[in-house]
């Protein structure tokens, strides 16, 4: 017996046994909340993340391995990689989800999210896809103001 083995197996058990089991519970919670008109997205996405815990850890390991282990910039680069992944990979995927939800809302006149009509869905999709552009625009404005007010 060793602490290393115990800790490793405890982590594996939590991430690969318990979380996937609880994913079903999270989905059930999401459905119950949806039926009552409450926000359900946390339970829904939580269920998905519970099924993908190992994959999420592998993703973070990939972000942290962008530089050598003794490079002082390794943490900064790992955060940059994480932000890049969220904004340029996840957000466009989320845009597709919002376009689908917007289209369905428009076609059926049903609201899939208690706060959102079709206009909000399409607006959100556009914002998701324009995220990098907005960041560049903000940087441009800041650059224009470097000289100060004259």
């Amino acid at each position: 017996m060793s602490f290393y083995n115990g800790f490793l197996n405890f982590t594996n058990w939590s991430g690969n046994v318990i979380l996937p089991t609880l994913a079903g519970l999270f989905f059930a919670l999401g459905i119950l909340r949806f039926s009552k008109g409450y926000p359900y997205s946390h339970a829904l996405y939580g269920g998905m993340m519970a099924l993908a815990a190992s994959g999420l850890l592998r993703a973070l390991e990939h972000f942290a391995a962008q530089r050598a282990w003794n490079d002082p910039d390794v943490y900064w680069i790992s955060i940059v990689s994480f932000v890049d992944w969220v904004t340029n990979v996840l957000m466009p995927v989320y845009a597709a989800v919002e376009v689908t939800a917007g289209g369905l809302a428009l076609a059926t006149d049903q609201r899939f999210q208690h706060t959102g009509g079709w206009m909000r869905h399409f607006m959100t999709a556009g914002l998701c896809l324009l995220l990098s552009g907005f960041a560049r625009l903000a940087e441009y404005f800041v650059q224009q103001g470097v000289g100060g007010v004259t």
């Binding site: 017996m1 290393y4 939590s14 993340m49 973070l60 972000f63 390794v74 943490y75």
Partner: protein, 221 residues
């Protein structure tokens, strides 16, 4: 003047009891893990660190004593065994008690109590992780002791060498596994609509502890 035999025997007894003292420090360190766990964090520099430090000191006591020679103080360690039979018996009994009673039996029982405590912690709405980690640490006490002993270089820097190796082991072996637990915690927080970005940032930090160390070194230089 020749050192009296009784004095040599007492020195031998104390030196031979150092590994037993290291075992006791290790067990007390494991218990401190539970006592000082503040939620999901552990207090570095608290009781656990203190007991682990003394554990390392006891394991590397003989190499550490060679420092006195460099100060100009001769420390001739007596060779051979313990001549006085009652002192030899005393040393043997204490060592046997620590290895067979404490390390062999008591530690497992303590770990079992910590597992029970983890369940009670969860029932009370407190974090159960410190109790689980303490139980795992106590169950692996013998292996941890062997690991610490394997890092003993036997030089006058042996104490620091062992502490260095322990840091490297913690940063490169244990912390990446802790990153997995941080992800699990982040998912639970997300579902419960509690802040989760902190745990994502912590997971990234745990995966790049060495890089952060070099960052701090670069900042200081």
């Amino acid at each position: 003047m020749q050192t009296p035999q009784l004095l040599n025997d007492i020195i031998n007894v104390l030196l031979l009891l150092a590994p037993a003292a290291a075992v006791i420090c290790l067990v007390l360190g494991g218990i401190s893990l539970r006592r000082e766990g503040g939620g999901i964090t552990f207090v570095l520099g608290g009781g656990f660190s203190k007991w682990m430090f003394w554990c390392v000191v006891f394991l590397t006591l003989q190499p550490l004593l060679t420092w006195f020679s460099s100060f100009g103080v001769g420390v001739p360690l007596p060779g051979g065994g313990i001549n006085a039979s009652w002192l030899a018996s005393f040393e043997s009994d204490i060592t046997s008690f620590v290895n067979n009673f404490i390390l062999g039996k008591l530690v497992t029982t303590l770990a079992a109590y910590f597992v029970l405590r983890a369940i009670l912690d969860a029932a009370a709405g407190d974090a159960f992780l410190p109790s689980v980690v303490a139980a795992l640490f106590l169950l692996g006490a013998q292996t941890t002791l062997n690991l610490l002993s394997s890092w003993n270089t036997g030089t006058q820097y042996a104490t620091v060498d062992v502490l260095d190796s322990a840091w490297t082991y913690l940063a490169t072996t244990v912390m990446p596994i802790a990153a997995g637990l941080a992800i699990v915690g982040a998912i639970f927080n997300f579902v419960a609509q509690r802040p989760m970005m902190r745990l994502v940032a912590v997971a990234l930090a745990l995966l790049s502890v060495s890089g952060i160390w070099y960052l701090v070194v670069a900042m200081a230089s």
